[in-house]
Amino acid sequence: MCDTCGCNVTQGNRHLIEAGGKHEHTHDGKVAVEVLENLLSENDHQAGHNRQHFGNHGVLAVNLMSSPGSGKTSLLEATIDALNQEFRIAVIVGDLETENDAERIRSKGISAVQITTGTACHLDAHMVHSALHQLNLDDLDIVFVENVGNLVCPASFDLGQHLNVTLLSVTEGDDKPAKYPVIFRAADAILISKSDLLPYLDDFKPERAEQAIRHLASEAPVLNLSARNSSTLDNWLTWLRKAFTIQDARRAAGETTKPKIQPEGEKLHAHG
């Protein structure tokens, strides 16, 4: 579909495809084939297909990423409690070994598909594809993907989601965005979780975390919340409702969206 579209071609390397022919001979007589193909194009094609599945069924897909134990499953439980009457929700959970997270979600009467990744440190689009075929998308409005707890690897793999949410719990330190810029840059929203613990932690300043995020040139909203206190969830629930409405309108217009890609990137990724 897009072997030659130049996925990931940017201002900085565009001259390479514009200049000269594709084949060149090197000094020692070997053939050099210029390619300029995204290394993950296979994954990205599968991700595009997944996004189409979600889109065709009017489902908003949201990928949650964070360090292990930052509160992804707890946030999902609290979110399900709050939105159960409003949206039909399902969860795809990536975990190294156990079914624990999926069981926690299922005990709320919600479908949860567990992807056991074994040693893999991230989910990829193929894993999510087989999981989403175990769900009846016609009966759903929002599918959350709980990625493997890891602040590095998940950021490199598009799963076919529409939006990325990255959690940063207050026990991790407010310098995490500076240490793991890629995953925080990828976020459409950043949630500072376990905010009920803020009074006990004098070294975590939400403002400092937000400043580190802005230094990554991210304009994503930064929301403080606690899964233990439902009254703190309002901003998050509002963000989610709005995201659903926007996605619904996009779908009606025959369009879709990918997780945060800046305008220049969007133009160059136009094949969807």
């Binding site: 070997k30 230094h215 040139a217």
Partner: protein, 120 residues
């Protein structure tokens, strides 16, 4: 270590290119990796020495070229160099910048021997 997964994806693409070009062997693979791609060049190189065995790139050398980070400011329009944790405009300091380069994860070129060349 998702670099191994990335490396395997790269080798599949290389195998496809080698088949299309009727290559007998792949001698060099050049990839371009930006600091914001989430892939560590050294780890990719390590993964490559494991993943290449049994493929047509068995004897190949992997060259990773790092790209620089450039941003364009949406406020003053300046295009400046940036750092991985400092993506703000180099001119006016605003954080509302757009990434021009730095997140590439590209297979840039593949050097190979064609089947007929290998015969002699």
């Amino acid at each position: 270590m998702h670099e191994l997964a990335v490396c395997q994806a790269m080798l599949e693409q290389v195998a496809g290119i080698a088949a299309r070009e009727q290559a007998s062997e792949v001698t060099r693979i050049i990839v371009r990796i930006g600091p914001l791609s989430g892939v560590v060049p050294e780890l990719l190189e390590q993964a490559f020495t494991i993943a290449r065995s049994g493929t047509i790139a068995n004897q190949a050398e992997l060259i990773t070229e790092a790209t620089g980070i450039r941003v364009r400011c949406s406020q003053c329009g300046a295009e400046t160099d940036a750092g991985i944790t400092r993506m703000i405009c180099g001119k006016c300091g605003d954080y509302r910048t757009q990434l021009l380069s730095g997140d590439e994860l590209l297979l840039a070129s593949v050097e190979l021997n064609r089947a007929e060349q290998a015969v002699e």
